[in-house]
């Protein structure tokens, strides 16, 4: 198929070949994690109509790390995830996945293929599909049109879905319409969808919002079990939850890093107390 002609909008990247971004994701190469770092954000700035949402933000996440990011409302946490996943283009700065993959050159689906999965702040699932179908669609597979017209689930894939259903405790709801789930269950389903994608890096935007204490507890266990095998970046407001899972905590404030370190140190940092309590 032809390369697209001219016509570019602000939100578009240099080129999207309508035939194969799967192939392009491969062509971008395998990420190189030799330095032990999975995600580098360097000097990222984003402004919306003059309002500085991210201000020279720099951040590095290690392979296998579980990083918590906290910060008051409007600190730029969601915007940071938008930048990483290709939804928002920054005014300046760079984002690298491993040593070699420039995420800023990629479309959202390409970023997903590279190995970044994202959970939205507001649970975003396919409300009219069954729980099973939600997992089926998000499963790691050839995601080109041609393939999906003839795709059939093999027994291995069915097993994977069954296992994820168990993990997110929705075995009994497999054939329920996802829109009918409780808020907490939707959150879990979205996490399950991420797991089906088998990403190397998971970005989780307020994953336990609206969950019962019990559900929150189990989510903490799940994340702790995932850390090491995958890298996780968790944005959360729930301090008890953060305290439970956090190793390194990054505090974002007005679009840049205010403090970073172990939970106890960050909690006692006077600048952090000022930001959280002093207003």
């Amino acid at each position: 198929m032809e390369k697209p002609l001219g016509v570019e909008t602000a939100s578009e990247r240099p080129s999207i070949d309508p035939a194969v971004d799967f192939a392009r994701a491969i062509e971008h190469g395998k990420p190189d994690f030799a330095h032990g770092v999975i995600l580098y954000l360097d000097d990222i700035s984003v402004s919306f109509d003059g309002f500085q949402a991210l201000n020279k933000l720099s951040l590095a996440i290690d392979v296998g790390e579980l990083r918590c990011i906290i910060g008051p409302n409007g600190a730029g946490k969601t915007t940071m995830m938008d930048v990483i996943t290709g939804k928002t283009r920054p005014d300046s700065g760079t984002v690298f996945f491993g040593q070699n993959i420039d995420l800023l050159k990629m479309t959202e689906p390409e970023v997903a293929h590279a190995g970044v999965g994202r959970k939205f702040q507001k649970p975003t699932i396919f409300e009219q599909h069954t729980v099973f179908e939600n997992l089926e669609l998000s499963m790691k597979a050839d995601k080109r049109v041609r393939n999906t017209l003839f795709a059939k689930l093999n027994s291995e894939q069915r097993d994977r879905i069954a296992e994820t259903l168990r993990q997110i405790r929705l075995e009994d709801a497999a054939s329920r319409i996802a829109g009918l789930l409780s808020h907490g269950q939707k959150q879990w389903l979205e996490i399950g969808m991420l797991l089906m994608q088998e990403p190397k890096l998971l970005l989780l935007d307020e994953p336990v919002a609206g969950m019962s204490d019990d559900e929150t507890e189990r989510t903490a266990e799940l994340f702790l079990a995932l850390a090491g095998k995958r890298s996780l970046v968790v944005v959360e407001h729930d301090m008890a939850f953060v305290a439970k899972i956090a190793r390194t905590v990054t505090v974002l404030h007005e679009g840049s890093v205010l403090a970073e370190g172990p939970m106890e140190r960050v909690q006692n940092d006077p600048r952090v107390i000022e930001v959280y309590l002093g207003r």
Partner: protein, 366 residues
């Protein structure tokens, strides 16, 4: 179970297949028998009027089906599908015009309108148009290519919702103005008519009409089954996912542009085929088929029948056009009011259309 029986079970349940078989029986056996074998005067005889009315409605039903694939499943509301229908009709109409040969009013080996305009040779677009296979190819290629190119730029620029709908309205309107001009080369506001033959066989005789009717019925049933195949595939589930949560689809690693483009182009091609079947049965094609109101009507058929069900599209096309053919005879000046009223009532009280009403009623009685 073998792969074939699995596929059959995937498309429809036993009740669905039975209903379909009943319809096939009516269309392929009852209609030809009552029209051709039972003589006129016998109360069981079906007149040519009915054959052509039902044939025409089946063409509309194919368009509605195509519309439902794009709108009901992928959430792409086109208000320009009449354009693809008309282009298919014009592409095949060229062949029908050439088949008139020198039997036109001017006895020239050229369509009358060209003689009238004092043209000496065929415009470039008519190249090879005396060949059936070539025009049949154009029926698919012209709407398909236009839809592909238009869709490519629209979807890539992430034009959605009402903006997309308005642009499709503008597109069909612009095409209508273009086709109104004599210089465009397709007969201006009169379009094409007075067809005589198709594949050298007289077009107006009962057996030809019945053959066209049967081909249309087969195309309709084939489109329905193909549509079912599409919407029950993973591809179909992704379309519905794009409709409901496009950003999630992208972050799952699918590029929605490709999916929308695929179903959009397929939908346009289906409309083109319907248009090509329509023209020889109705006997005329002119630019009014491209009027914006025509395309809006297509959306109303689907809304009335019930979006996202395929069968609903066919039911809606049948009901609205059945009502239309009654009203335009009985009270011609009121049809548009009636159509508007139907649309308002459906939007207010039957958000899932007639087909949805059926399942609502079943749920209540169960």
């Amino acid at each position: 179970m073998g792969p074939v029986s699995l596929l059959i079970a995937r498309l429809y349940g036993p009740r669905g297949w039975m209903t379909l078989a009943a319809f096939a029986l009516a269309l392929f056996v009852v209609f030809p028998l009552c029209n051709l074998a039972i003589p006129e005067g016998n109360p069981l005889h079906l007149s040519a009027y009915w054959v052509s009315l039902v044939g025409k409605i089946m063409c509309y039903a194919i368009v509605a089906l195509a519309m439902d694939l794009a709108w009901g499943y992928a959430g792409i509301l086109s208000l320009g599908h009449g354009l693809f229908f008309a282009l298919g009709g014009y592409a095949f109409g060229m062949y029908l015009m050439r088949q008139i040969g020198s039997d036109g009013q001017y006895k020239a080996n050229m369509p009358d309108f060209m003689v009238f305009l004092d043209w000496k040779e065929f415009p470039w677009a008519w190249w090879n148009s005396d060949q059936f296979w070539w025009c049949a190819l154009l029926v698919v290629l012209v709407p398909g290519l236009l839809a592909f190119v238009f869709g490519f730029f629209a979807f890539r620029s992430r034009i959605k919702g009402v903006y997309f709908s308005i642009i499709t309205q503008a597109l069909t309107y612009a095409a209508m103005l273009l086709f109104f001009r004599n210089a465009t080369g397709f007969g201006g506001n009169n379009g094409f008519t007075d067809f005589k033959r198709i594949l050298d066989i007289p077009v107006a005789i009962p057996s030809t009409r019945m053959a066209l009717f049967a081909i249309t019925a087969a195309t309709l049933i084939g489109s329905l089954l193909l549509g079912r195949y599409i919407v029950t595939s993973k591809f179909g589930r992704i379309l519905a996912a794009i409709r409901d949560a496009e950003s999630r689809v992208m972050f799952c690693g699918y590029n929605p542009v490709h999916y929308k483009l695929a179903i959009w182009t397929f939908s346009a091609v289906l409309c083109g085929i319907a248009g090509a079947l329509y023209v020889p049965q109705v006997g005329i094609i002119n630019p009014s088929e491209m009027s914006p109101a025509n395309s809006i009507e297509i959306a109303i058929w689907v809304a009335v029948g019930g979006r996202g069900t395929l069968v609903g599209a066919i039911v809606g096309a049948g009901l609205v056009n059945g009502a239309k053919s009654y009203f335009t005879q009985a009270f011609p000046e009121y049809w548009l009011y009636v159509l508007g009223l139907i649309f308002i009532l459906v939007t207010l009280f039957m958000p899932k259309g007639v087909v949805g009403l059926w399942s609502q009623w079943k749920n209540r009685s169960a």
